[in-house]
């Protein structure tokens, strides 16, 4: 007969235990490992472990010339690749006091907004999927495909474009670009209603997000939350409004701010931002001035010695680029202030006391891109 071993039975309802969420978990959207300390189903605390996809981009930048750096910034937040390129280009142009042609500014603004829509579409896909609605994933990707086709036709690639260069653009837009963008806007205005029908109004999604993961405005500011996430807590932080670049001064658009600070506010902020982005594109697409697609730049770009900082509004929030130059053709030190990293820092604070399923919802609403966290 088998010997019966009597182990002391632990009551897991009372004891705290740790589980690993990730690094290979579908709802962390990449290789992010969260060590969650649980009591029953309640999250007691949480430790994010970063660095699984750290490539040392900042260090690599120190050996690259400024035009070469552009293609590395694509690989930080790959979903807003154009916007990351824009940050470095603006910084170089500011340091050299180069005036880029109006045409370039218009094209860059339009392409940035298209990129923002594409990024939010993918976020919507994955948000729906994390909530348990796989259908969203297919519908969102189908519409994103249309933008990627426009990108592919004009810039040659779908995700990592390296389209901007310091002083201008790699090449001019495709002759069909304006026509296709207009077709897309008309198409997407119809399809975004599907998004609302399918997910925004859905009772399950409403119950799982309303009042979940509330961050106050003060906390949002002290954690440095920006982008649609920070604006969901009432923190008005749109770089496009407060420190305009490109042609954002010339267009009419609203900064989307909600004060609830919960998961639903962050969700609705992104939905409204897609509509705002379409408004911006519609105002610009017919008025692209003729002209050169790049300013005259020297073959070897050297920044004067000094410190430079430039920020842009990427799809996830404020992206800051900081460069210390010693007058050489490569930067002496380069630092990126990436939005996902700051937004991640709140996760421990906001998820304490939530259920583990709420943690998935909160994480989805923050829209992390892991290479953006780790760089």
């Amino acid at each position: 007969m088998k010997e019966v071993i009597n182990l002391p039975v632990k009551n897991i309802e009372e004891e705290e235990y740790h589980i690993n969420m990730g690094p290979q978990h579908p709802s962390t959207h990449g290789v992010l490992r969260l060590v969650v300390s649980l009591q029953g189903e309640i999250v007691k605390s949480l430790k994010p472990h970063c660095g699984y996809i750290h490539r040392g981009i900042e260090k690599m930048c120190e050996k690259d010339t400024y035009p070469q750096i552009i293609h590395l910034t694509d690989r930080m937040d790959y979903l807003s690749a154009h916007i990351n390129n824009h940050a470095v280009c603006l910084l170089v142009e500011k340091a050299l006091e180069v005036e880029v042609p109006e045409r370039v500014k218009y094209i860059r603004t339009i392409v940035d907004e298209l990129n923002r829509i594409a990024s939010h579409q993918l976020w919507w896909c994955s948000f729906g999927m994390d909530m348990g609605g796989l259908t969203c994933f297919f519908y969102g990707l189908r519409d994103r495909e249309k933008i990627l086709d426009i990108f592919e036709e004009s810039f040659g690639s779908r995700l990592l474009h390296s389209y901007y260069t310091p002083g201008g653009l790699m090449m001019d837009i495709h002759p069909d670009f304006q026509k296709n963008v207009k077709v897309f806007i008309k198409y997407f205005r119809k399809k975004i209603k599907d998004y609302d029908d399918l997910l925004s109004g859905n009772v399950i999604m409403q119950l799982r997000t309303k009042g979940v993961g509330v961050i106050s405005k003060e906390d949002a500011i002290s954690f440095g939350m920006t982008g649609p996430t920070g604006r969901g807590s009432g923190f008005s932080c749109d770089v496009r409004k407060h420190h305009p670049y490109g042609v954002y001064e010339k267009v009419q658009f609203n900064e989307i701010v909600r004060t609830e600070g919960d998961t639903l506010a962050r969700y609705l902020n992104r939905m409204d931002e897609m509509r705002e982005s379409m408004n911006i594109i519609e105002q610009l697409i017919d008025n692209i001035p003729a002209g050169d697609y790049t300013a005259k730049m020297k073959a070897v770009i050297k920044l004067p010695a000094g410190e430079y900082f430039q920020r842009v509004e990427s799809a996830r929030g404020e992206l800051g680029v900081y460069v210390v130059s010693d007058g050489n053709k490569t930067p002496f030190r380069m630092k990126f202030r990436t939005p996902s990293f700051s937004n991640l820092s709140t996760l421990d604070y906001v998820s304490r006391g939530c259920k583990i399923a709420d943690l998935v919802a909160i994480g989805a609403s923050m829209d992390y891109v892991i290479p953006d966290i780790d760089r």
Binding site: L72, G156, S162, D197, V203, A299
Partner: protein, 160 residues
């Protein structure tokens, strides 16, 4: 009493919201052509990539097996990750001078990040984007290519 009505209103609204969602999925269920993007690989025969598509870096050759590369090495310096290696050669010109030509333009497709700097900065427009995108091979040494074809020479009007 109020909470009693609220209870049923919540149930009603909940079911309504679910039905609204199911209307959308139902519509696509009966019109699948609205949801299909493309049928790769079934459409491989007819699939045509855009002209600007960045599949790989190629060196276009004319019908006489002539290319435009002078072997200057600018693309090699501009490549951010060392995907290009230029091996130069010297030939004797009739006037007794030595002239630099390209011996091998080695391109490591496996390391290329498709940034386009080599193509943009080449002074004689010798490089271009190719539309081939099915790069899967069993051995990665196959991804190292020599872009100038064997026996090729430089185009006359470039060398002068």
């Amino acid at each position: 009493m109020n909470s009693f009505f609220q209870y049923f209103a919540d149930i009603f609204n909940g079911v309504k919201s679910l039905l609204t969602g199911m209307k959308v999925t139902g519509r696509y269920f009966f019109s699948p052509w609205e949801i299909v993007t493309q049928q790769y690989p079934e459409n491989r025969k007819t699939l045509k990539m855009y002209d600007r598509f960045k599949g790989e870096v190629i060196m276009p050759h004319t019908a006489n097996n002539e290319h435009r590369c002078t072997g200057c090495g600018i693309c090699e310096t501009n490549c951010p990750n060392g995907s290009i290696e230029i091996i130069q050669d010297k030939i004797d010109m009739p006037d007794g001078k030595k002239k630099r030509i390209i011996d091998k333009h080695i391109y490591h497709l496996s390391m290329c990040t498709f940034c386009g700097l080599c193509i943009k900065t080449c002074p004689s427009d010798a490089l271009a984007w190719g539309q081939e995108f099915e790069h899967a091979v069993f051995d990665r040494t196959k991804l190292t290519k020599i872009l100038n074809k064997p026996g090729s020479s430089i185009l006359k009007d470039i060398s002068e």
